[in-house]
Symmetry: C2
Amino acid sequence: MSTFFWTIPTQNVKNINKHAVVDLIRFTAGGISRIELSRQMNLTRAAITAIVSDLQAAGLVREIESHYPSGRRPIVLEINPDRGYVVGIDMGATHVTILVTDFSARVVREMDEPLDINQGPAVCLPRVESLVHQILSEAGLSIKDISAVGAGVPGPVVAGVGVMGPPIMPGWDGYPIRDDLEKRFGVPVSLSNDAELGAIGEWAYGAGRGERDLAYIKVGTGIGAGLLLDGQIYRGATGSSGEIGHITIEENGPVCTCGNRGCLEALAGGRAIANRAIQEVNSGRRTVLTEISPVSQIRSRDVIAAARRGDLVSQQIVSEAGVHLGTALASLVNLFNPSMVVVGGGVAQIGDLLLEPIRETVHQRSLLPASRSVRITSALLGRRSSAMGAVVQALSIVLHRLSEHS
Amino acid sequence: MSTFFWTIPTQNVKNINKHAVVDLIRFTAGGISRIELSRQMNLTRAAITAIVSDLQAAGLVREIESHYPSGRRPIVLEINPDRGYVVGIDMGATHVTILVTDFSARVVREMDEPLDINQGPAVCLPRVESLVHQILSEAGLSIKDISAVGAGVPGPVVAGVGVMGPPIMPGWDGYPIRDDLEKRFGVPVSLSNDAELGAIGEWAYGAGRGERDLAYIKVGTGIGAGLLLDGQIYRGATGSSGEIGHITIEENGPVCTCGNRGCLEALAGGRAIANRAIQEVNSGRRTVLTEISPVSQIRSRDVIAAARRGDLVSQQIVSEAGVHLGTALASLVNLFNPSMVVVGGGVAQIGDLLLEPIRETVHQRSLLPASRSVRITSALLGRRSSAMGAVVQALSIVLHRLSEHS
């Protein structure tokens, strides 16, 4: 980073240090020792000991023996998992994923249900509320056991409050989503863009652990990217960064939901994949997709499933989508020079059939210094990346708050 | 910015505060008062007074009456311009710009000379050295009066040391440019990518004053972008971010210097503009460019000059380049959501003939939330943006160092 001017922290230093200690503890796999905390934070051992004592007294942090294979097992610190629970909610265009975790982000219950985001907040949010009550009851818990909720939506989130001008969320523009959810649940809610949460989830617990410059691309009905730059989530001037789904790939290509032509999403999103399949069936090509009736009901997940069962036409459609994704990601790699690109979302569950054409196209279409330093990998958390990111954000609210009062 | 984890400053807090005070003073037009420093830095009035006293004692900072039009004129602080001088050097593909400024970044002497970057460091760096001695002597100064040098090169700079894999700098790959210049001048040298310096220059003293999310695009022989994100220069994982010249605009377009097809640079860079003009002349179109002989000697600056004199063919070529630039910038706007895009470099000196098709295409091809919040403007510092950025970096070295010892 340039040092030509400085951003001054506006919080008091003690809280900043407490947050940093809590974060180093929660994001270091296997726990972290006091000595290591002191080294990484450039604080004296005494200062670290004082902070850790406060956190222990508040029940937020506990000591364990580290999992060294043999010999001396130093004492390390971890978040006390039994201190409470949070909920992570990932609303996609067609489904919702809900996770309940303890304070160490261990999943105690998981749910994936259909949800049509086009029905708007008046239908979707009550449905999400009742699903949360259902999953909590399945886990033997109630909303009273929950300390915070993290939620993600497939649109540009402004100031953590609601969405502005989302191409695939009619009826949601300007709706105060966070406030609505806080009223429903009676706990603090963190609201973010779903692709941003995917980047956070994969950074914290997935393929991107420890990366400082990471792009997560979510390939589902819509296509969006979450950007972690220099170790910080980058949202842009008005919260709508990462709209890779709407960069132009073919100047005179097919019309997109946003009104333009030749956007990536119109060529490689879930709808585009389904439409290509419908075209192929209608043109009489030999494919197992002809079994689906009526033809217009073919969805991208049918194409993915058929490709997995060896259907050549479906494999070709997925592979072509990979080339388009690769062209767009090459632009991203040329502009951002990330160390890692994580490909997630429903369509990405097909794995290397999509990843290989992406890798090949990125390496062909980006400059050598950037292309040889970027790893392109599928999401380690699978469909859960964004929901886990929502859990991370919920835990940030509650762990930081509790640490301040410790 | 997300607060889910913290980057811990590794320098001591006193130095960080001194750098911040110096930077607030130098980048606030018209000076800044102690009260305002105290407010912006969230430090007590006493702490600010102590820091400012040190800086005054070291002769770095001085008091002036503010330029309020009438009434009470409060005392404000500014950098002491007479404390010393720095040099800023901007090496382009075909020319070099050199500025000599005082400590307040006021230009005392300016020079623009041809330089063929393709001749490599063994020819270019001695030439730059002798030009620096020449401009200093013209200004009545010598290298002994210079406290630091900032330099820019048109390639991806790694760790401030040299360039890696630059498409338009044969012979420079891996050469220790900064060390070479430090030996030649005997003062600290800061080395950066030229487009990055353009962003810094326009942010500090040009069209982008005070912006937190700014992209500067340099349109010359090569095309590159400098990115200021969340108030910090973003360089990417290996220093090669901002390579917008090599994002794909036409999948099967013309071959680029980088080896790929259809890159922005191959469609809208200086060479592409000259080649289009040569084509038009060879195909017998009516244009003043036919006066240039041999035809193969037409350069982009001839096309710009002809367009300025009303030549329709030249205007059309520039306008088409603008559309291609707009398509690439729409991708950048969709991905980054900057508040401002500054268009600079030699080709951009034509102004709105290039800017208008850029604006139109960006607004057509980027999503509404991002497109309605971005201003697209030409570089206020003209051809000087990068050289002024080099001055900013040189002054950062010397002002921060002196402040630490104050």
